[in-house]
Protein backbone atom coordinates (compact mmCIF):
# COMPACT_ATOMS: atom_id res chain seq x y z
CA UNK A 1 0.00 0.00 0.00
CA UNK A 2 2.90 2.31 0.72
CA UNK A 3 3.93 2.25 -2.90
CA UNK A 4 0.51 3.61 -3.87
CA UNK A 5 0.80 6.41 -1.32
CA UNK A 6 4.24 7.16 -2.61
CA UNK A 7 3.06 7.09 -6.17
CA UNK A 8 0.28 9.53 -5.44
CA UNK A 9 2.69 11.90 -3.74
CA UNK A 10 5.32 11.81 -6.44
CA UNK A 11 2.67 12.11 -9.11
CA UNK A 12 1.96 15.64 -7.91
CA UNK A 13 5.46 16.70 -7.06
CA UNK A 14 4.95 20.43 -6.99
CA UNK A 15 1.88 20.28 -4.81
CA UNK A 16 3.32 17.68 -2.47
CA UNK A 17 6.52 19.68 -2.25
CA UNK A 18 4.73 22.90 -1.38
CA UNK A 19 2.62 21.16 1.23
CA UNK A 20 5.63 19.54 2.85
CA UNK A 21 7.39 22.89 2.75
CA UNK A 22 4.41 24.47 4.52
CA UNK A 23 4.54 21.90 7.31
CA UNK A 24 8.31 22.11 7.50
CA UNK A 25 8.12 25.87 7.89
CA UNK A 26 5.58 25.51 10.70
CA UNK A 27 7.61 22.90 12.53
CA UNK A 28 10.74 24.96 11.92
CA UNK A 29 9.02 27.82 13.74
CA UNK A 30 8.02 25.47 16.55
CA UNK A 31 11.57 24.20 16.90
CA UNK A 32 13.24 27.61 16.80
CA UNK A 33 10.77 29.33 19.10
CA UNK A 34 10.53 26.29 21.33
CA UNK A 35 14.31 26.06 21.37
CA UNK A 36 14.51 29.58 22.65
CA UNK A 37 12.07 29.03 25.46
CA UNK A 38 13.62 25.66 26.29
CA UNK A 39 16.95 27.40 26.56
CA UNK A 40 15.63 29.92 29.05
CA UNK A 41 13.87 27.21 31.00
CA UNK A 42 17.10 25.26 31.25
CA UNK A 43 18.99 28.37 32.28
CA UNK A 44 16.51 29.07 35.04
CA UNK A 45 16.58 25.47 36.21
CA UNK A 46 20.34 25.40 36.27
CA UNK A 47 20.48 28.75 37.99
CA UNK A 48 18.24 27.62 40.79
CA UNK A 49 20.22 24.45 41.10
CA UNK A 50 23.27 26.55 41.91
CA UNK A 51 21.67 29.16 44.12
CA UNK A 52 20.42 26.73 46.70
CA UNK A 53 18.02 27.87 49.36
CA UNK A 54 17.91 31.33 50.73
CA UNK A 55 15.28 33.94 51.20
CA UNK A 56 15.97 36.85 48.90
CA UNK A 57 15.43 40.27 50.38
CA UNK A 58 15.20 43.22 48.07
CA UNK A 59 14.21 46.88 48.49
CA UNK A 60 10.46 47.23 48.65
CA UNK A 61 10.20 49.18 45.43
CA UNK A 62 8.62 48.37 42.13
CA UNK A 63 10.65 45.54 40.64
CA UNK A 64 13.04 45.53 43.58
CA UNK A 65 15.18 48.27 42.08
CA UNK A 66 17.45 50.32 44.23
CA UNK A 67 19.78 49.29 46.96
CA UNK A 68 19.90 48.33 50.57
CA UNK A 69 22.07 49.63 53.34
CA UNK A 70 24.31 47.02 54.90
CA UNK A 71 22.83 47.77 58.29
CA UNK A 72 19.77 45.85 57.09
CA UNK A 73 21.87 42.67 57.04
CA UNK A 74 22.24 42.88 60.80
CA UNK A 75 18.52 43.47 61.15
CA UNK A 76 17.77 40.45 59.07
CA UNK A 77 20.19 38.35 61.07
CA UNK A 78 18.35 39.23 64.24
CA UNK A 79 15.06 37.90 62.95
CA UNK A 80 14.38 34.63 64.80
CA UNK A 81 14.79 31.67 62.47
CA UNK A 82 17.44 33.26 60.28
CA UNK A 83 20.71 31.41 60.70
CA UNK A 84 22.84 33.66 58.55
CA UNK A 85 22.45 36.67 56.30
CA UNK A 86 24.71 38.26 53.73
CA UNK A 87 24.53 40.80 50.95
CA UNK A 88 25.61 40.86 47.35
CA UNK A 89 26.16 43.85 45.11
CA UNK A 90 25.34 43.57 41.45
CA UNK A 91 26.50 45.87 38.68
CA UNK A 92 26.89 45.67 34.98
CA UNK A 93 30.36 45.01 33.57
CA UNK A 94 29.77 47.59 30.89
CA UNK A 95 28.37 50.67 32.64
CA UNK A 96 27.41 52.24 29.32
CA UNK A 97 25.58 49.26 27.97
CA UNK A 98 21.84 48.84 28.09
CA UNK A 99 20.84 46.14 30.50
CA UNK A 100 19.06 43.22 28.91
CA UNK A 101 19.27 40.80 31.76
CA UNK A 102 21.51 38.64 29.64
CA UNK A 103 24.52 40.93 29.80
CA UNK A 104 27.70 40.47 31.76
CA UNK A 105 27.30 41.17 35.40
CA UNK A 106 29.73 41.78 38.19
CA UNK A 107 28.69 40.28 41.49
CA UNK A 108 30.32 41.51 44.65
CA UNK A 109 30.28 38.56 47.04
CA UNK A 110 31.71 37.54 50.36
CA UNK A 111 34.34 34.95 49.50
CA UNK A 112 32.78 32.48 51.93
CA UNK A 113 29.41 32.89 50.17
CA UNK A 114 30.58 32.66 46.60
CA UNK A 115 28.93 30.33 44.14
CA UNK A 116 29.80 26.69 44.59
CA UNK A 117 30.13 25.87 40.91
CA UNK A 118 33.12 23.78 39.87
CA UNK A 119 36.19 25.51 38.50
CA UNK A 120 37.96 24.44 35.35
CA UNK A 121 41.11 26.20 36.47
CA UNK A 122 42.45 28.40 39.25
CA UNK A 123 40.94 28.79 42.67
CA UNK A 124 37.96 30.26 44.44
CA UNK A 125 38.07 33.66 46.07
CA UNK A 126 39.43 33.63 49.59
CA UNK A 127 38.94 36.12 52.39
CA UNK A 128 41.44 38.89 52.07
CA UNK A 129 41.58 38.76 48.29
CA UNK A 130 42.05 42.16 46.67
CA UNK A 131 40.90 42.95 43.15
CA UNK A 132 40.60 39.31 42.17
CA UNK A 133 37.87 37.66 40.14
CA UNK A 134 36.35 34.27 39.51
CA UNK A 135 34.66 34.42 36.10
CA UNK A 136 31.94 32.38 34.40
CA UNK A 137 32.71 30.24 31.38
CA UNK A 138 31.02 32.55 28.86
CA UNK A 139 32.99 35.52 30.15
CA UNK A 140 36.22 33.57 29.96
CA UNK A 141 35.51 32.56 26.40
CA UNK A 142 34.38 35.93 25.21
CA UNK A 143 37.36 37.81 26.62
CA UNK A 144 39.69 34.89 26.09
CA UNK A 145 40.71 34.87 29.75
CA UNK A 146 43.04 32.49 31.51
CA UNK A 147 43.98 32.37 35.15
CA UNK A 148 46.37 35.25 35.77
CA UNK A 149 44.93 37.45 33.04
CA UNK A 150 43.60 40.89 33.80
CA UNK A 151 40.05 42.03 33.23
CA UNK A 152 39.25 45.71 33.09
CA UNK A 153 36.31 47.08 35.07
CA UNK A 154 35.00 50.59 34.52
CA UNK A 155 32.97 53.12 36.41
CA UNK A 156 31.23 56.30 35.44
CA UNK A 157 31.08 59.14 37.87
CA UNK A 158 27.55 59.05 39.06
CA UNK A 159 27.01 62.79 38.75
CA UNK A 160 26.93 64.61 35.48
CA UNK A 161 29.43 62.46 33.72
CA UNK A 162 28.69 60.73 30.47
CA UNK A 163 31.95 58.94 30.04
CA UNK A 164 34.05 56.44 31.88
CA UNK A 165 35.95 58.14 34.63
CA UNK A 166 37.61 55.26 36.38
CA UNK A 167 39.14 52.00 35.24
CA UNK A 168 40.75 49.22 37.13
CA UNK A 169 42.22 45.85 36.26
CA UNK A 170 41.18 42.86 38.30
CA UNK A 171 43.15 39.66 37.97
CA UNK A 172 41.37 36.44 37.19
CA UNK A 173 42.11 33.78 39.78
CA UNK A 174 39.54 31.19 38.79
CA UNK A 175 37.36 30.17 35.85
CA UNK A 176 34.08 28.37 36.38
CA UNK A 177 32.89 25.36 34.48
CA UNK A 178 30.03 25.81 32.04
CA UNK A 179 26.87 25.59 34.10
CA UNK A 180 24.22 26.43 31.50
CA UNK A 181 22.90 29.06 33.89
CA UNK A 182 22.95 32.81 34.23
CA UNK A 183 26.16 32.42 36.22
CA UNK A 184 28.13 31.75 33.05
CA UNK A 185 27.88 35.49 32.50
CA UNK A 186 28.94 36.48 36.00
CA UNK A 187 32.16 37.90 37.35
CA UNK A 188 32.57 37.38 41.06
CA UNK A 189 34.73 39.89 42.88
CA UNK A 190 35.04 40.31 46.65
CA UNK A 191 32.18 42.46 47.90
CA UNK A 192 34.30 45.05 49.65
CA UNK A 193 36.32 45.70 46.50
CA UNK A 194 33.24 46.12 44.35
CA UNK A 195 31.75 48.51 46.90
CA UNK A 196 34.94 50.48 46.98
CA UNK A 197 35.52 50.74 43.25
CA UNK A 198 31.96 51.67 42.48
CA UNK A 199 31.77 54.06 45.40
CA UNK A 200 28.92 52.16 46.97
CA UNK A 201 30.33 51.56 50.40
CA UNK A 202 27.92 49.87 52.81
CA UNK A 203 25.48 49.20 50.00
CA UNK A 204 24.20 45.88 48.69
CA UNK A 205 21.66 45.00 46.01
CA UNK A 206 20.14 41.98 47.69
CA UNK A 207 20.36 40.30 51.00
CA UNK A 208 20.10 36.55 51.30
CA UNK A 209 18.88 35.03 54.51
CA UNK A 210 19.74 31.43 55.24
CA UNK A 211 17.62 29.47 57.66
CA UNK A 212 17.65 26.20 59.45
CA UNK A 213 16.03 23.30 57.61
CA UNK A 214 13.13 23.02 60.04
CA UNK A 215 12.07 26.64 59.56
CA UNK A 216 9.10 27.47 57.34
CA UNK A 217 10.46 29.83 54.68
CA UNK A 218 7.07 31.39 53.98
CA UNK A 219 6.56 32.27 57.62
CA UNK A 220 10.11 33.47 57.89
CA UNK A 221 9.80 35.73 54.84
CA UNK A 222 6.74 37.34 56.39
CA UNK A 223 8.55 37.82 59.66
CA UNK A 224 11.49 39.48 57.90
CA UNK A 225 9.16 41.87 56.06
CA UNK A 226 7.60 42.85 59.39
CA UNK A 227 10.86 43.24 61.30
CA UNK A 228 12.93 45.06 58.71
CA UNK A 229 11.89 48.35 57.20
CA UNK A 230 11.16 48.75 53.49
CA UNK A 231 12.17 45.35 52.28
CA UNK A 232 10.40 42.62 50.40
CA UNK A 233 11.33 39.00 51.00
CA UNK A 234 10.75 36.13 48.69
CA UNK A 235 11.22 32.48 49.45
CA UNK A 236 13.23 30.34 47.00
CA UNK A 237 9.97 28.73 45.99
CA UNK A 238 8.37 32.08 45.28
CA UNK A 239 11.42 33.29 43.37
CA UNK A 240 11.18 30.25 41.18
CA UNK A 241 7.47 30.75 40.69
CA UNK A 242 7.94 34.40 39.78
CA UNK A 243 10.51 33.60 37.16
CA UNK A 244 8.59 30.63 35.85
CA UNK A 245 5.53 32.86 35.54
CA UNK A 246 7.49 35.29 33.44
CA UNK A 247 8.92 32.46 31.41
CA UNK A 248 5.47 31.04 30.91
CA UNK A 249 4.33 34.25 29.29
CA UNK A 250 7.41 34.27 27.14
CA UNK A 251 6.88 30.64 26.20
CA UNK A 252 3.22 31.23 25.50
CA UNK A 253 3.96 34.04 23.11
CA UNK A 254 6.70 32.21 21.24
CA UNK A 255 4.95 28.87 21.17
CA UNK A 256 1.63 30.28 20.04
CA UNK A 257 3.31 32.13 17.20
CA UNK A 258 4.95 28.87 16.22
CA UNK A 259 1.76 26.85 16.57
CA UNK A 260 -0.02 29.35 14.39
CA UNK A 261 2.58 28.80 11.71
CA UNK A 262 2.23 25.05 12.05
CA UNK A 263 -1.56 25.17 11.83
CA UNK A 264 -1.26 27.09 8.60
CA UNK A 265 0.97 24.27 7.42
CA UNK A 266 -1.71 21.82 8.51
CA UNK A 267 -4.38 23.66 6.58
CA UNK A 268 -2.26 23.39 3.48
CA UNK A 269 -2.19 19.62 4.02
CA UNK A 270 -5.95 19.63 4.27
CA UNK A 271 -6.30 21.69 1.13
CA UNK A 272 -3.91 19.48 -0.77
CA UNK A 273 -5.66 16.34 0.36
CA UNK A 274 -9.10 17.70 -0.48
CA UNK A 275 -7.93 18.58 -3.96
CA UNK A 276 -6.23 15.27 -4.32
CA UNK A 277 -9.35 13.41 -3.20
CA UNK A 278 -11.70 15.27 -5.50
CA UNK A 279 -9.28 14.77 -8.36
CA UNK A 280 -9.20 11.09 -7.61
CA UNK A 281 -12.95 10.58 -7.29
CA UNK A 282 -12.82 7.99 -10.04
CA UNK A 283 -9.80 6.30 -8.58
CA UNK A 284 -11.41 5.78 -5.17
CA UNK A 285 -14.67 4.74 -6.80
CA UNK A 286 -12.80 2.23 -8.88
CA UNK A 287 -10.92 0.88 -5.87
CA UNK A 288 -14.24 0.39 -4.11
CA UNK A 289 -15.64 -1.41 -7.14
CA UNK A 290 -12.56 -3.60 -7.07
CA UNK A 291 -13.40 -4.51 -3.51
CA UNK A 292 -11.30 -2.07 -1.49
CA UNK A 293 -12.49 -1.73 2.07
CA UNK A 294 -13.05 1.60 3.76
CA UNK A 295 -9.94 0.99 5.81
CA UNK A 296 -7.85 0.53 2.65
CA UNK A 297 -8.95 3.88 1.34
CA UNK A 298 -8.57 5.53 4.72
CA UNK A 299 -5.10 4.11 4.96
CA UNK A 300 -4.16 5.43 1.55
CA UNK A 301 -5.40 8.97 2.12
CA UNK A 302 -4.53 9.39 5.78
CA UNK A 303 -1.23 7.67 5.15
CA UNK A 304 -0.45 10.25 2.52
CA UNK A 305 -1.33 13.10 4.85
CA UNK A 306 0.61 11.58 7.73
CA UNK A 307 3.61 10.91 5.51
CA UNK A 308 3.62 14.52 4.38
CA UNK A 309 3.46 15.44 8.06
CA UNK A 310 6.40 13.19 8.90
CA UNK A 311 8.55 14.42 6.04
CA UNK A 312 7.62 18.04 6.73
CA UNK A 313 8.20 17.52 10.45
CA UNK A 314 11.60 15.94 10.01
CA UNK A 315 12.68 18.60 7.51
CA UNK A 316 11.46 21.33 9.84
CA UNK A 317 13.28 19.84 12.82
CA UNK A 318 16.47 19.32 10.85
CA UNK A 319 16.32 22.84 9.41
CA UNK A 320 15.54 24.24 12.83
CA UNK A 321 18.39 22.27 14.34
CA UNK A 322 20.85 23.52 11.74
CA UNK A 323 19.75 27.15 11.96
CA UNK A 324 19.72 27.30 15.76
CA UNK A 325 23.08 25.59 15.82
CA UNK A 326 24.50 28.18 13.45
CA UNK A 327 22.94 30.99 15.45
CA UNK A 328 24.30 29.54 18.69
CA UNK A 329 27.74 29.30 17.09
CA UNK A 330 27.64 32.91 16.04
CA UNK A 331 26.42 34.03 19.45
CA UNK A 332 28.98 31.85 21.15
CA UNK A 333 31.70 34.24 20.10
CA UNK A 334 29.92 36.77 22.26
CA UNK A 335 29.59 34.28 25.05
CA UNK A 336 25.91 33.39 24.91
CA UNK A 337 23.77 30.74 23.37
CA UNK A 338 20.12 31.38 22.67
CA UNK A 339 18.63 28.02 21.75
CA UNK A 340 18.46 24.56 23.23
CA UNK A 341 17.02 21.87 21.00
CA UNK A 342 16.09 19.36 23.66
CA UNK A 343 15.01 15.78 22.88
CA UNK A 344 11.66 16.69 24.35
CA UNK A 345 11.32 19.47 21.80
CA UNK A 346 12.23 17.16 18.92
CA UNK A 347 9.63 14.61 20.02
CA UNK A 348 6.98 17.31 20.47
CA UNK A 349 7.79 18.78 17.06
CA UNK A 350 7.56 15.43 15.33
CA UNK A 351 4.37 14.34 17.08
CA UNK A 352 2.87 17.70 16.33
CA UNK A 353 3.70 17.37 12.64
CA UNK A 354 2.32 13.84 12.40
CA UNK A 355 -0.88 14.62 14.26
CA UNK A 356 -1.30 17.75 12.19
CA UNK A 357 -1.01 15.63 9.07
CA UNK A 358 -3.42 13.01 10.37
CA UNK A 359 -5.98 15.45 11.75
CA UNK A 360 -5.95 17.52 8.60
CA UNK A 361 -6.10 14.35 6.51
CA UNK A 362 -9.11 12.94 8.33
CA UNK A 363 -11.84 14.92 6.65
CA UNK A 364 -10.47 14.47 3.11
CA UNK A 365 -10.02 10.77 3.83
CA UNK A 366 -13.58 10.52 5.06
CA UNK A 367 -14.71 12.18 1.84
CA UNK A 368 -12.69 9.65 -0.11
CA UNK A 369 -14.41 6.71 1.58
CA UNK A 370 -17.79 8.26 0.78
CA UNK A 371 -17.10 8.15 -2.94
CA UNK A 372 -19.79 6.09 -4.54
CA UNK A 373 -18.38 3.60 -7.01
CA UNK A 374 -21.43 4.23 -9.17
CA UNK A 375 -20.99 7.96 -9.42
CA UNK A 376 -17.28 7.62 -9.77
CA UNK A 377 -17.41 5.25 -12.70
CA UNK A 378 -20.41 6.20 -14.71
CA UNK A 379 -18.99 9.21 -16.46
CA UNK A 380 -15.75 9.80 -18.23
Amino acid sequence: MFDLIFRSMTQRKMRTGLTIFGIALGIFAVVVMGGMSEHFNLMVDNTFELIGNGIQIEPDTIGGLGSLDESKIRQVERVPGVSDAYGILITSLDPEGVSTGMDEIIVGVLPEKQLEAKLTSGRYLVPGDGYKAVVGSDIARKYNLKVGDELEIKRKNLQRSSSITHKKNVSVVGIMEYTGSFFDNRIQIPLDKVQKFYKMENIVSFIYAEYSPDADPTELAKRIDLSVDKVKSTTPEQQRKDIEGQLMIFSLITISAAVLAAIIGGLSVMNTMLMSVSERTKEFGLLKALGAERKNILFMTMGEAALMGVIGGISGIVAGGIITNLLNKSFEAQGTALFSITPRLVVIGLLFAISLGIICGTYPAYRATKMSPMEALRYE
Partner: protein
Amino acid sequence: MSNKGNNGRNGSNGNHAVDSEPVLRIRDLRKTYMQGKIPVHALDGVSFDVKKGELLSIVGPSGSGKSTLLSMIGLLDRPTDGSVFIDDVEITKAKESEAPRIRREKIGFVFQHFNLLATLTAMENVDIAMRFTGTSKNRRKERAFELLTMVGLGDRVKHKPSELSGGQQQRVAIARALANEPAILLADEPTGAVDTKTREVIVDLLKGLSEKGQTIIVVTHDMDVARQTDRIITMRDGMIASDTGVKGNEGQGL
Protein backbone atom coordinates in the same frame (compact mmCIF):
# COMPACT_ATOMS: atom_id res chain seq x y z
CA MET B 1 -5.97 -20.98 -18.58
CA SER B 2 -7.91 -22.72 -15.91
CA ASN B 3 -10.68 -21.30 -13.89
CA LYS B 4 -9.62 -22.60 -10.55
CA GLY B 5 -12.39 -21.13 -8.46
CA ASN B 6 -15.12 -22.73 -10.49
CA ASN B 7 -13.55 -26.03 -11.53
CA GLY B 8 -15.45 -28.03 -8.97
CA ARG B 9 -18.82 -27.31 -10.45
CA ASN B 10 -17.89 -27.16 -14.09
CA GLY B 11 -16.81 -30.77 -14.46
CA SER B 12 -15.71 -31.88 -17.92
CA ASN B 13 -18.58 -30.39 -19.78
CA GLY B 14 -18.06 -29.53 -23.45
CA ASN B 15 -20.92 -27.09 -23.59
CA HIS B 16 -19.93 -23.98 -21.69
CA ALA B 17 -23.43 -23.00 -20.62
CA VAL B 18 -24.15 -26.04 -18.55
CA ASP B 19 -27.47 -27.13 -17.18
CA SER B 20 -26.54 -26.85 -13.58
CA GLU B 21 -27.37 -24.64 -10.64
CA PRO B 22 -27.50 -21.07 -11.83
CA VAL B 23 -24.61 -18.83 -10.77
CA LEU B 24 -26.90 -15.84 -10.60
CA ARG B 25 -30.53 -15.71 -9.62
CA ILE B 26 -32.51 -12.50 -9.69
CA ARG B 27 -35.92 -12.39 -8.12
CA ASP B 28 -38.46 -9.61 -8.51
CA LEU B 29 -35.84 -6.89 -8.33
CA ARG B 30 -37.15 -3.36 -7.90
CA LYS B 31 -35.48 -0.02 -7.64
CA THR B 32 -37.40 3.20 -7.20
CA TYR B 33 -35.72 6.58 -7.26
CA MET B 34 -37.41 9.72 -6.14
CA GLN B 35 -37.04 12.43 -8.71
CA GLY B 36 -38.24 15.35 -6.70
CA LYS B 37 -41.63 14.03 -5.53
CA ILE B 38 -42.21 11.73 -8.46
CA PRO B 39 -41.14 8.12 -7.99
CA VAL B 40 -39.21 6.70 -10.93
CA HIS B 41 -39.23 2.94 -11.27
CA ALA B 42 -35.81 2.19 -12.70
CA LEU B 43 -36.39 -1.52 -12.11
CA ASP B 44 -39.90 -2.82 -11.84
CA GLY B 45 -39.86 -6.50 -10.96
CA VAL B 46 -37.03 -8.18 -12.80
CA SER B 47 -36.40 -11.91 -12.45
CA PHE B 48 -34.04 -14.20 -14.35
CA ASP B 49 -31.34 -16.84 -13.85
CA VAL B 50 -27.89 -17.00 -15.35
CA LYS B 51 -26.08 -20.30 -15.68
CA LYS B 52 -22.42 -20.82 -15.25
CA GLY B 53 -20.41 -20.06 -18.35
CA GLU B 54 -23.23 -18.16 -19.98
CA LEU B 55 -22.44 -15.10 -22.09
CA LEU B 56 -25.47 -12.91 -21.64
CA SER B 57 -26.13 -9.49 -23.06
CA ILE B 58 -28.60 -6.99 -21.71
CA VAL B 59 -29.84 -4.47 -24.25
CA GLY B 60 -32.40 -1.75 -24.28
CA PRO B 61 -32.77 1.97 -24.76
CA SER B 62 -31.29 4.53 -22.40
CA GLY B 63 -33.21 4.66 -19.15
CA SER B 64 -34.58 1.16 -19.55
CA GLY B 65 -32.87 0.12 -16.33
CA LYS B 66 -30.04 -2.03 -17.65
CA SER B 67 -27.26 -0.07 -15.96
CA THR B 68 -29.24 -0.02 -12.73
CA LEU B 69 -29.62 -3.75 -12.97
CA LEU B 70 -25.89 -4.14 -13.46
CA SER B 71 -25.08 -2.03 -10.44
CA MET B 72 -27.43 -4.13 -8.29
CA ILE B 73 -25.73 -7.31 -9.39
CA GLY B 74 -22.36 -5.71 -8.75
CA LEU B 75 -23.48 -4.57 -5.30
CA LEU B 76 -22.66 -1.01 -6.18
CA ASP B 77 -26.20 -0.04 -5.34
CA ARG B 78 -29.03 -1.50 -3.28
CA PRO B 79 -32.46 -2.45 -4.61
CA THR B 80 -35.68 -1.12 -3.11
CA ASP B 81 -37.04 -4.67 -3.12
CA GLY B 82 -36.24 -8.13 -4.40
CA SER B 83 -33.17 -10.33 -4.23
CA VAL B 84 -29.96 -11.11 -6.05
CA PHE B 85 -28.31 -14.46 -5.34
CA ILE B 86 -24.77 -15.19 -6.45
CA ASP B 87 -23.66 -18.79 -5.85
CA ASP B 88 -26.77 -19.14 -3.69
CA VAL B 89 -25.77 -16.30 -1.43
CA GLU B 90 -28.28 -13.51 -1.21
CA ILE B 91 -25.95 -10.58 -1.71
CA THR B 92 -28.76 -8.06 -1.46
CA LYS B 93 -29.06 -9.06 2.21
CA ALA B 94 -25.34 -8.58 2.86
CA LYS B 95 -24.28 -5.93 5.33
CA GLU B 96 -22.54 -2.85 4.02
CA SER B 97 -19.33 -4.03 5.69
CA GLU B 98 -19.46 -7.28 3.72
CA ALA B 99 -19.99 -5.57 0.38
CA PRO B 100 -16.31 -5.03 -0.45
CA ARG B 101 -15.52 -8.67 0.15
CA ILE B 102 -18.40 -9.83 -2.05
CA ARG B 103 -17.38 -7.39 -4.77
CA ARG B 104 -13.83 -8.62 -4.88
CA GLU B 105 -14.62 -12.31 -4.57
CA LYS B 106 -17.70 -12.61 -6.75
CA ILE B 107 -17.65 -9.78 -9.23
CA GLY B 108 -15.28 -8.52 -11.87
CA PHE B 109 -16.06 -5.17 -13.45
CA VAL B 110 -15.26 -3.98 -16.94
CA PHE B 111 -16.22 -0.40 -17.75
CA GLN B 112 -16.85 1.51 -20.92
CA HIS B 113 -14.00 3.90 -20.24
CA PHE B 114 -11.62 1.19 -18.97
CA ASN B 115 -10.98 3.08 -15.73
CA LEU B 116 -7.37 2.09 -15.45
CA LEU B 117 -5.22 4.06 -13.01
CA ALA B 118 -3.16 6.34 -15.21
CA THR B 119 -0.13 6.32 -12.94
CA LEU B 120 0.21 2.56 -12.84
CA THR B 121 1.57 0.15 -15.45
CA ALA B 122 -0.61 -2.56 -17.01
CA MET B 123 0.89 -5.03 -14.56
CA GLU B 124 0.18 -2.82 -11.54
CA ASN B 125 -3.35 -2.13 -12.74
CA VAL B 126 -4.08 -5.84 -12.64
CA ASP B 127 -2.16 -6.27 -9.43
CA ILE B 128 -4.19 -3.64 -7.60
CA ALA B 129 -7.36 -5.74 -7.80
CA MET B 130 -5.62 -8.47 -5.79
CA ARG B 131 -4.18 -6.19 -3.12
CA PHE B 132 -7.30 -6.21 -1.03
CA THR B 133 -7.46 -10.00 -0.92
CA GLY B 134 -4.28 -10.61 1.02
CA THR B 135 -2.60 -12.46 -1.86
CA SER B 136 1.18 -12.51 -1.57
CA LYS B 137 3.12 -10.08 -3.69
CA ASN B 138 4.85 -12.77 -5.72
CA ARG B 139 1.63 -14.61 -6.37
CA ARG B 140 -0.04 -11.38 -7.47
CA LYS B 141 2.77 -10.65 -9.88
CA GLU B 142 2.66 -14.13 -11.29
CA ARG B 143 -1.09 -14.02 -11.72
CA ALA B 144 -1.06 -10.54 -13.29
CA PHE B 145 1.50 -11.64 -15.83
CA GLU B 146 -0.48 -14.80 -16.55
CA LEU B 147 -3.66 -12.82 -17.15
CA LEU B 148 -2.02 -10.16 -19.31
CA THR B 149 -0.46 -12.89 -21.41
CA MET B 150 -3.84 -14.51 -21.77
CA VAL B 151 -5.44 -11.28 -23.08
CA GLY B 152 -2.50 -10.96 -25.49
CA LEU B 153 -0.56 -8.24 -23.70
CA GLY B 154 2.35 -10.27 -22.34
CA ASP B 155 4.74 -7.86 -24.02
CA ARG B 156 3.06 -4.74 -22.70
CA VAL B 157 3.11 -5.33 -18.96
CA LYS B 158 5.36 -2.35 -18.22
CA HIS B 159 3.31 0.07 -20.28
CA LYS B 160 1.23 2.83 -18.76
CA PRO B 161 -2.38 3.20 -19.99
CA SER B 162 -1.39 6.28 -21.99
CA GLU B 163 1.00 4.11 -23.96
CA LEU B 164 -1.71 1.60 -24.85
CA SER B 165 -4.50 1.75 -27.44
CA GLY B 166 -8.13 1.73 -26.36
CA GLY B 167 -8.48 -1.95 -27.16
CA GLN B 168 -5.33 -2.77 -25.25
CA GLN B 169 -6.52 -0.75 -22.28
CA GLN B 170 -9.82 -2.61 -22.29
CA ARG B 171 -7.97 -5.89 -22.36
CA VAL B 172 -5.95 -4.80 -19.33
CA ALA B 173 -9.26 -3.96 -17.66
CA ILE B 174 -10.59 -7.42 -18.50
CA ALA B 175 -7.45 -9.00 -17.06
CA ARG B 176 -7.97 -6.93 -13.93
CA ALA B 177 -11.62 -8.01 -13.68
CA LEU B 178 -10.56 -11.65 -13.85
CA ALA B 179 -7.78 -11.33 -11.29
CA ASN B 180 -9.77 -12.64 -8.34
CA GLU B 181 -11.53 -15.38 -10.34
CA PRO B 182 -14.97 -13.81 -10.00
CA ALA B 183 -18.19 -15.78 -10.30
CA ILE B 184 -19.50 -13.17 -12.71
CA LEU B 185 -17.81 -10.75 -15.04
CA LEU B 186 -19.91 -7.61 -15.42
CA ALA B 187 -19.14 -5.53 -18.48
CA ASP B 188 -20.81 -2.15 -18.87
CA GLU B 189 -20.63 -1.11 -22.52
CA PRO B 190 -17.21 -2.73 -22.91
CA THR B 191 -17.03 -1.81 -26.58
CA GLY B 192 -18.61 1.62 -26.20
CA ALA B 193 -15.35 3.50 -26.46
CA VAL B 194 -13.46 1.50 -29.08
CA ASP B 195 -13.61 1.26 -32.86
CA THR B 196 -15.38 -1.57 -34.68
CA LYS B 197 -12.22 -3.54 -35.35
CA THR B 198 -11.21 -3.44 -31.73
CA ARG B 199 -14.76 -4.26 -30.80
CA GLU B 200 -14.38 -7.65 -32.44
CA VAL B 201 -11.19 -8.32 -30.51
CA ILE B 202 -12.94 -7.57 -27.24
CA VAL B 203 -16.01 -9.61 -28.09
CA ASP B 204 -13.85 -12.55 -29.20
CA LEU B 205 -11.98 -12.34 -25.94
CA LEU B 206 -15.23 -12.39 -23.95
CA LYS B 207 -16.53 -15.33 -26.03
CA GLY B 208 -13.31 -17.20 -25.40
CA LEU B 209 -13.57 -16.62 -21.66
CA SER B 210 -17.17 -17.80 -21.68
CA GLU B 211 -16.15 -20.99 -23.44
CA LYS B 212 -13.69 -21.61 -20.64
CA GLY B 213 -16.52 -21.38 -18.13
CA GLN B 214 -16.54 -17.73 -17.17
CA THR B 215 -20.01 -16.31 -16.61
CA ILE B 216 -20.26 -12.94 -18.32
CA ILE B 217 -22.99 -10.29 -18.41
CA VAL B 218 -22.57 -7.53 -20.96
CA VAL B 219 -24.67 -4.40 -20.96
CA THR B 220 -24.59 -2.86 -24.42
CA HIS B 221 -26.34 -0.58 -26.88
CA ASP B 222 -24.66 -2.34 -29.74
CA MET B 223 -26.81 -5.07 -31.30
CA ASP B 224 -23.78 -6.32 -33.29
CA VAL B 225 -22.23 -7.19 -29.96
CA ALA B 226 -25.43 -8.56 -28.45
CA ARG B 227 -26.04 -10.86 -31.42
CA GLN B 228 -22.76 -12.64 -30.76
CA THR B 229 -23.76 -13.58 -27.22
CA ASP B 230 -25.54 -16.76 -26.12
CA ARG B 231 -28.56 -14.95 -24.86
CA ILE B 232 -30.07 -11.46 -25.07
CA ILE B 233 -32.27 -9.86 -22.46
CA THR B 234 -34.05 -6.75 -23.71
CA MET B 235 -35.07 -4.23 -21.11
CA ARG B 236 -37.80 -1.65 -21.41
CA ASP B 237 -39.12 0.68 -18.72
CA GLY B 238 -37.45 -1.25 -15.93
CA MET B 239 -38.83 -4.58 -17.02
CA ILE B 240 -37.67 -7.44 -19.17
CA ALA B 241 -39.28 -7.03 -22.59
CA SER B 242 -37.81 -10.17 -24.05
CA ASP B 243 -35.35 -12.91 -23.10
CA THR B 244 -33.99 -15.22 -25.81
CA GLY B 245 -32.88 -17.69 -23.16
CA VAL B 246 -36.41 -18.42 -21.96
CA LYS B 247 -38.37 -20.20 -24.67
CA GLY B 248 -42.01 -19.19 -24.83
CA ASN B 249 -41.59 -16.87 -21.94
CA GLU B 250 -40.84 -13.60 -23.68
CA GLY B 251 -42.20 -10.57 -21.96
CA GLN B 252 -42.21 -12.01 -18.48
CA GLY B 253 -42.83 -9.49 -15.81
CA LEU B 254 -45.27 -7.51 -17.92
